[in-house]
Symmetry: D2
Subunit: 331 residues, 4 copies
């Protein structure tokens, strides 16, 4: 990294770009039931964000013949980091596409590339922070929208959880070495080999988790992505709202890993799994030692109490989050 | 800063060292009512931390003839940052004392110095992370103690709020330029001059706030320090617990600035003001624009709703957090 | 009471009939912000109820030149109690009007009369319990509507609080002797004379409170009426929602009397005061001794903690809840 | 019932008398973990109550060779109802024992008898309401103890749930006809025969539930008894506390029937099952129609969401709550 005055860094999870095979249902789910706000719709791409998100969008939904994740986007720490990441990744033999300013509404120049697992990643820096119309604008100057307008009403995007049928260590090493993610907690199998890792560039326990699921259909799946609620009771309210809509879910429960409350529900339009998430802890320690969960501690790691989450026996539907992209406007 | 490979950085608020004129009452308040754990007591210094704090202590209490704050300590990001901060501060004309490994139990080599306002600061890196006895140890590997053992039972230390009768800008400029704190929100007077600033090195809205209070007794007061609760309901439970002990408090309420719930209560032993704090937002944006609160927005900034906090008319008791130190073991 | 096989009894608070000088604003407030459901609108009368109310309406709103309370209605325990109350009240010299089946939509034969303070009361037994349309109907068989559709979303009506400039004892004696309300808690002045009483026929601490306010404009005011929320955090959420609408309110706080959490807000259409209410205790004891609050305990009785409620110095706007009625269809 | 001026009535659930084979463990569980207060200990009987219970005890624990429920006690509405119930029950062919004033500490004259299922019931009226020592006494005049002293800290006793291997209808008919319990909700099998019934004399959905469990060991088992928490978040806190003590539990979840949140845990001393319970609805309607749950709605009735409760496949341990009594002091 001697090429750069300062090694490029990721600042935060930006957004998840979802392709839905039933966009009407997906929009109903994310706008009416989850309660995300639609910043704008341009050429069939619906840009959404939560009431406390500051940037233009934290997810987008586009109609497609097959439901999948087009890409997962990360905000760089500095504008020049976008280019510097491009250099760094190409040097490492990674193919990098440039995504021009405006290809995604609200977003400046960005790059796209794939993890060793072929998960599609995007890195951007510039993103508009549009102010809502007066009637939806928050009273507080440090808040975007009025809260509690509809449905579950989470505050902000929280994290992504990706699954792969290859060795998770290959993925987490890449995330650590190329993108600067720090391992916060991890799970090993009986032979002490890493199964899953929870990593972050922020003080959250994880901005991303990587799970080895040997019988996953591809190396590049999305297990779920997550929005944050301020209070554990809000997760119970989410359970009520989902039940009243006849939407099945897993939880509520509390993870051992991250100490967070959860409910998991699948968008009936695309099948993508969403985690409603609250509580948990933050990591401020610069000398944090990754917490190691042994195989026989896995059950408590996934579910400290409540309805079981994690790799139960049955096969879980996951969306493809890799290849198949012909991005417009890419050079 | 060209002297260093990397400029030294602060990672987090470490602890607040309290001198109490009535240590029995202070220990009762912080251990029985607030519910902090005592890591150890050495030579009359009681080292306390919350159940979710990882390091050896996040506050200490020592008996003294007059209640005051001995120092406010910050953890550096790297071990070498302690020395580098010493160099950087001396170059800026700041007097720096070395505090040897073990002067504070559990803590490695550290430095002490004063802000332009004469608030006593300490910077350390090494700090033990002792594991509690089995019966108090948490079940979860990522948690220190079992929660909810006694009283209010906050998770962790959160922030400090210092007051000064000099221009707050002198203090916040020092914090920004020498110590790397970023301004997150600030308040101005009718002539657009800064009154108060909320700053952080973490993703919290503030690790430290600096308030100009012209009629404060000295330039170096502590307005309050704060512990964090996971849920807003926990703040209401704190209100019940304090009421049942006949301890007066301000709140519950919700700040506009930081969006956090609060209750303020004074330790009956030392008079130090403690804020029980929950909810609020995090700042992940590297391109955050400090939120400016105009003078006529101050009321909402301090109290969005609930019992009023902030600079009400009446004079508030604050502890001295500057000079008067003859640290043992200082070279 | 030897006339009856069984003395007539009140079962519960039924509804509050509000006349609003600005019905558009009142409908916006109660339907969009409070989140009540409109069962139906007939001849300009809007019949509302909360998602967990079982009967046809728990409040109604009608346009009028002056905002006032037309009547407060109570459900009798048995159908024959309506007639028996008529007999009992007439015997006591109280003028009783008959209100025919259907005069109020959904309601059977009822009677209206005035308290000694001239507050307008109604007693009914038969009331439809309409099932909502499928898309709004709850999933659970013991719940009326889906919850959390809009705004604050309380579960059910809770109580009324009436004010009078005459001796409150005259009113509470009438409520006890004629209508069977039991005194649960009461407040006395320095000479031990009753100022206010909290009374119930249910296991709630109060279905009705009566407050002496010497400088009230009439003997028959409504201080407020109240809807119930299941959790104290819901009261905090209500505070957020009201703040975001620019609606001023008092609270949140916790009453000593009843131990309940509160927020008070006035309907911007009619000025009627609404209390959002949660927690508190229930009285199952048949041998309950009314709790007496002395004058110097009044502050704690009204506000155990939080933003002060109760008789503060300043004069509070209250609606007239007496006379001026020319009920259609009354014999 | 023409014998009485007024038919005798039950006012509320009074207490559950537990015999524990490991009293040390049971006392640890109920006092330290659940957080009940010990009113007094007399001749080896430990009398406990929650901080918001008003009467002398809502449960007792006595050492015994086999863990069982000695009796379930109910408070009558009037003093004369105790004798009148004795007359009424004897007339119905039920054997009635008199339990003299003071046999149970704090309790006046009472009677004991068995349901058709041989569950041991007690009816009393007089019960002391002792005021706690000053340091434990609540600040509020309408509350018994300071809350939140230890552990889960429920407010009050809530209900009992009894199981039988005979037809539940025989039991619920007896409860309705002899003791005045009203059916609130009930569950039927595919042939429309009642399996379980939830009944109350109060406005709670149930003071008692009766469940047919064909393979129960006896006709007179206790499935669980329950204490009430004010907020749903308190149930989550209970889950944390139980997990930290290594105590297994079922939940958290939400019942369809009663709409209440739950966690079930067994006392490690006696094996008795305790439900921590919150939220739910109240029934004020005198013309309430019992809610009927069909067999295919049973799953939702028991568990609306969360970790499953109710009759799962596996056999649940239950305590015997019948016969085997040689009450001292019985005439």
């Amino acid at each position: 990294m001697e090429k750069f005055d300062q090694a490029p860094e990721i600042a935060k999870l930006g957004h998840v770009a979802l392709i839905s095979a039933d966009i009407e249902k997906s929009l109903w789910f994310f706008k009416e039931i989850v309660g995300l706000e639609e910043t704008t719709e341009v050429d069939g791409v619906h840009y959404l964000r939560a009431w406390g998100d500051f940037e233009h969008h934290t997810m987008s939904i586009t109609a497609g013949s097959e439901s999948r994740i087009d890409h997962i986007a990360w905000k760089a720490k500095r504008r020049e980091d976008v280019d510097n990441f491009a250099i760094l990744l190409k040097d490492a033999g990674v193919e990098v596409e440039l995504v021009k300013d405006g290809t995604e509404t609200g977003q400046g120049d960005a790059i796209r590339f794939q993890l060793p697992s072929e998960h599609n990643f995007e890195i951007y820096f510039d993103m508009e922070k549009p102010v809502p119309d007066l009637h939806r604008r928050a009273v507080l100057k440090n808040q975007t929208y009025k809260a509690w307008a509809k449905g579950i009403s989470p505050r902000r995007i929280d994290h992504v959880n990706i699954a792969t049928n290859i060795d998770s260590k290959i993925v987490t090493d890449f995330l650590a070495e190329k993108l600067g993610f720090k391992m916060r907690e991890y799970l090993v199998d009986p032979s002490d080999k890493q199964i899953s890792g929870w990593m972050s560039v922020t003080q959250l326990v994880h901005d991303i988790a990587v799970m080895s699921i040997p019988d996953a259909e591809t190396s590049h799946q999305l297990h779920h992505f997550s929005y944050w609620l301020d209070n554990s009771q809000d997760v119970l309210r989410a359970a009520d709202i989902l039940s009243e809509q006849g939407l099945e879910f897993v939880g509520p429960g509390k993870h051992g890993i991250s100490q967070a409350m959860y409910v998991y529900v699948q968008d009936p339009g695309s099948g993508v799994r969403l985690e409603l998430f609250s509580n948990g802890y933050l990591i401020f320690e610069p000398d944090w030692e990754p917490v190691k969960w042994k195989f026989d501690e896995m059950a408590v790691g996934f579910t400290y109490w409540g309805e079981q989450s994690g790799t139960s026996g049955k096969k879980e539907l996951m969306l493809n989050a890799g290849p198949v992209r012909e991005t417009q406007g890419i050079e």
